[in-house]
C-alpha cells in the first residue's frame, strides 16, 4: 500500500491541513501526524486545488507525432497541474469511431500521467456533412461525452440540431467551435478591426463567432439539449451567453488563458506565434472575458493547447498554422491575471479549472472536493513564486509558446494524479517519515 502525506497545504487557499493519501484515494484530511513508512510532501505555504481539468487540448496523435504525442502532451499537462485533459478529435485519422476513441484512451493510460479523455467528432471526418457514430463512441470503453468538430464549426444548422437531439439519451454535450465559414473564411487570420485594415491581413470578425453562438443557444433551447461554447473570444459572445443563461438555456462556455491575457496588438510584427483561432481580440474584449469568468457567465478555463512543429509556424502569417501552447502556463496566467488583481480567489480557480470542467465533461473521478473518499487528484500551487517562461524547457514537443520570456506570478508546484506524484518542481520535497 502506497501512502503519501501532504503536509500543511492550504486547501483552496484556506487554512493549512494535512492530507493522507492511500492507494490513490484521499483517506484523511486534518491535523495528522506522520505514521511510520509514510512518504511526506512538505506543502507549507502551498495552495491545494482539486487536480486541474482541461476541456480542450490538441495532442496531435495519431497523425502528427512530430508536433506532440499523447505521452509528451500528458507530460506537459502534468507539469501544468492537470490531472485530466480532453483530447480534441481533429487528429489524422479523426476520432470519429468507438475504436479510435478507445485507442486514445489506451494511449493515455499507457502514459499514466493524466486521464486522457477523447472528444468524439460530431461529423464523420469533420466534414460537416454526416453525423459520426456518436452513440457507439458514448457506449465504448472511452465513455465519450463531449463531441466536437473543433478546428471547424458545425455550420449546417440542421445537422447541429440533429446532433443536439441525438446526444440527449447519453447526456452528451456538443462543444462548438463557433466560426461562420462565410463571415470568417479559411484565409481569415486576425481580428477584423483597425489593425487588420492597416496590416492588410484578412479579418476574422467578432460577428462570425457571435452569430453562431446565438444560433446554437436557440437550437439548444429548441432541443432541450446541452451546448458548450469553445474558446469564447468576444464581448458580444459573452452577452449572448449571459442572455441564454438568464433564459435557463443549457449552455456552458470556456475561455482560454491567452484570450484572457493577450491582445491583437501583438500582431504588429506579424509573428506567427500569436496566430490563433479564434484570433486575439482587442483590450475591450479581453476585459469582458475576464469579467465574464469572474461573474460565472463563462464557466471554465480551457487551454486549446495547440502544438505545432517549427516548420509549420515559420511561414508567412497568412500561411502559418493556427494555435499556441497552453498546458504548462495556464495556471500561472490565471494566477497572475485573475487571482492577483482579486478577480478570482483560489476556490474560484478550483471551480473554473477543475470542478466545472469535470462536470461539463462528465468525469466522476475528477474535480472532486479534497475530502476523505475522493480520488487523490490534487494540484499544489505556489501562489508567490515568479516564473519566467522558457519555451526551450517545455515538456511539449513543440515550441510555439507565446509566453516565452514573460514573467508570471503563481506556479504549479506539484501534481498528484490518482495518488501518484506526476510532477514536482522540487525533487527534494519528498521524505519518508521514520
Amino acid at each position: 500500500m502506497t501512502r503519501l502525506l501532504v503536509r500543511g497545504a492550504r486547501i483552496l487557499g484556506g487554512h493549512p491541513a494535512d492530507l493522507l493519501i492511500e492507494d490513490g484515494v484521499i483517506r484523511q484530511v486534518g491535523s495528522l501526524g506522520a505514521a511510520e513508512g509514510v512518504e511526506v510532501m512538505d506543502a507549507d505555504g502551498l495552495v491545494a486545488l482539486p487536480g486541474l481539468v482541461d476541456l480542450h487540448v490538441h495532442l496531435r496523435e495519431p497523425g502528427r507525432e512530430d508536433a506532440e504525442t499523447i505521452a509528451t502532451g500528458s507530460a506537459a499537462a502534468a507539469a501544468g497541474g492537470f490531472t485530466a485533459v480532453f483530447a480534441m478529435a481533429n487528429t489524422s485519422p479523426v476520432t470519429d469511431t468507438a475504436e479510435a476513441a478507445e485507442r486514445i484512451l489506451d494511449l493515455g493510460r499507457a502514459s499514466g500521467l493524466v486521464d486522457v479523455v477523447p472528444v468524439g467528432a460530431v461529423t464523420k471526418g469533420l466534414d460537416g456533412a454526416e453525423l459520426a457514430e456518436l452513440g457507439l463512441m458514448a457506449r465504448s470503453r472511452a465513455r465519450v461525452r463531449v463531441f466536437s468538430d473543433d478546428g471547424r464549426c458545425v455550420h449546417d444548422a440542421r445537422l447541429m440540431r440533429r446532433a443536439l437531439e441525438y446526444i440527449k439519451p447519453f447526456g452528451g454535450v456538443i462543444s462548438q467551435h463557433a466560426q461562420d465559414p462565410h463571415l470568417a473564411d479559411g484565409s481569415a487570420c486576425c481580428h477584423e478591426g483597425e489593425l487588420s485594415g492597416r496590416l492588410g491581413l484578412p479579418g476574422w470578425p467578432a460577428v462570425a463567432e457571435e452569430t453562431i453562438v446565438a444560433r446554437d443557444v436557440m437550437l439548444a433551447r429548441h432541443t432541450g439539449s446541452r451546448v458548450h461554447v469553445a474558446h469564447v473570444s468576444t464581448a458580444g459572445t459573452v452577452e449572448v451567453v449571459r442572455w441564454a443563461k438568464a433564459q435557463g438555456i443549457d449552455v456552458t462556455a470556456e475561455v482560454t488563458p491567452h484570450h484572457l491575457a493577450l491582445t491583437t496588438d501583438l500582431l504588429v510584427g506579424y509573428d506567427p506565434v500569436y496566430k490563433v483561432n479564434p484570433p486575439l481580440r482587442p483590450q475591450e474584449d479581453v476585459e469582458a472575458l475576464r469579467a465574464a469568468l469572474a461573474d460565472g457567465t463563462i464557466d471554465a478555463v480551457a487551454t486549446d493547447h495547440a502544438p505545432h512543429a517549427r516548420h509549420d509556424k515559420e511561414h508567412t502569417f497568412v500561411d502559418a498554422a493556427f494555435g499556441m501552447l497552453g498546458l504548462e502556463t495556464a495556471l500561472a496566467v490565471v494566477s497572475d491575471l485573475m487571482v492577483r488583481p482579486g478577480l478570482l480567489d483560489w476556490s474560484d480557480v478550483a471551480r473554473v479549472m477543475s470542478t466545472t470542467p469535470a462536470r461539463i465533461g462528465g468525469l466522476p473521478d475528477q474535480g472532486r472536493p479534497l475530502q476523505p473518499g475522493s480520488p487523490a487528484n490534487i494540484t499544489l500551487v505556489d501562489p508567490d513564486r515568479e516564473v519566467t517562461v522558457d519555451a526551450a524547457a517545455s515538456r511539449s514537443l513543440s515550441r510555439n509558446n507565446p509566453w516565452h520570456g514573460r514573467t508570471l506570478r503563481g506556479a504549479v508546484h506539484a501534481t498528484i494524479h490518482r495518488g501518484t506524484v506526476t510532477h514536482s518542481t522540487d525533487t527534494n520535497v519528498m521524505e519518508t517519515a521514520s
Binding site: 477584423e192 478591426g193 485594415g197 492597416r198 492588410g200 470578425p205
Partner: protein, 344 residues
Amino acid sequence: MTRHMLSSADLSRTEVLDILATAESMHDLQRREVKKVPTLRGRTVINFFFEDSTRTRSSFEIAGKWMSADTINLSAKGSSTSKGESLRDTAMTIDAMAVDALVIRHNASGACHQVAQWVRCSVINAGDGTHEHPTQALLDAYTLRSRLGDLDGKHVVIVGDLTHSRVFRSNVITLKTLGARVTVVAPPTLMPSGIVGWSATDGFATSWDLDAVLDGEDPVDAVMMLRVQRERMSGGYFPTAREYTVGYGLTRDRLDRLVARNPDVLILHPGPMNRGLEIAAEAADSARSVVLDQVSAGVAVRMAVLYHLLAGNDDAPREPAELETSTTGASAPSAPTQPEGVAR
C-alpha cells in the same frame, strides 16, 4: 532609415525628400546615352518575386544594373517554396550566399517584415500582400512633386479598392509625411475594416461619394485611381462592373468636371489599368494623365532607394560624386546631398 525598407512609415520627411532628391539625379542619368554608373559595383541584389510583377521587377532590375550591381531574379515558381520549404528556410538560404539586398514581392502581408527578422542583408519591400508598397508611394510622390512642386497642402484623392490595395496604404503614409491632404473614396465594401479610426489617427478623410469629393469645396490637385481586381466582382464587393464605373470610375464626365475646375489636375494610376472599369480611356490617355511618368520615375526612385540602403555601408563609402564618373562626361547630375544622421 533602418537598413531595410519595409514600410513607408520607416521614412521621415527628411529621408523621403533626400531619396527624392537622389532620384532626380538618377532620373537625369536615365536620359543619357550610356546609363551605367559604378555606384554599386560588387554589390549583389536579389529580386525575389513570389508573385508575378513584370513592371516592378524589371524596374528594380534596371535600377540595379544601371548602378552596376549584380542583380539576380528569382521567382517562386520552381523555387523550393513550392516544394513546401518554410519562408524562413528560403530566406536563410539566400542570406547565406552573402547577398547585399533582397528585394521581395510576396502575396502575403508582412512577409518582408518576417524575412527581415531572419537575414543579415537589407530587405526592400516590393509589395507584400495587401499591406504596403513603399517604393510605389515614393515614385508617386516623385511624379506629383515634379508637376506640382512642394506637396504641402495639396489635395490628393485616392479612389478604388482600398481594402486590397498596398499602393493606397503606402501612399497615405508618404503623402501625409510630405504634408499633402488626402481623401480616400470607395464603396463601404472596399474600405478596410476600422478605417474610420485609422483615418482619424493618421489624418486623412474618407468618403463613399466620389462626386461629392470631386465637386466639393476643396479643389483637387491629383486623383489616384486604384486597380480593381476582376475577381472582386464575384466576391460580392459590388454588384456589377457597370455599377462600379457609374459610382467610382474616372469617367469622361468626371474628368471634364475636374479639368474645368483645375486645368492642372493630375491623373495617376499604378497600373495595369482596367480601361472602361475604373478609368475611362479618355482619362487614361488625357494630357492630365501622368501614368507613364510614374513608370519612368519608378526606375529612378528604385535606384535612389538602392543607393541609400547599399552605397556607403562598407569600409570605403561610395560618395554620390561617383555618379559623375559617367562615360559621357556631359551633363553630370548634381550630387545629392546626404542628410545628417541617417542611419543605415
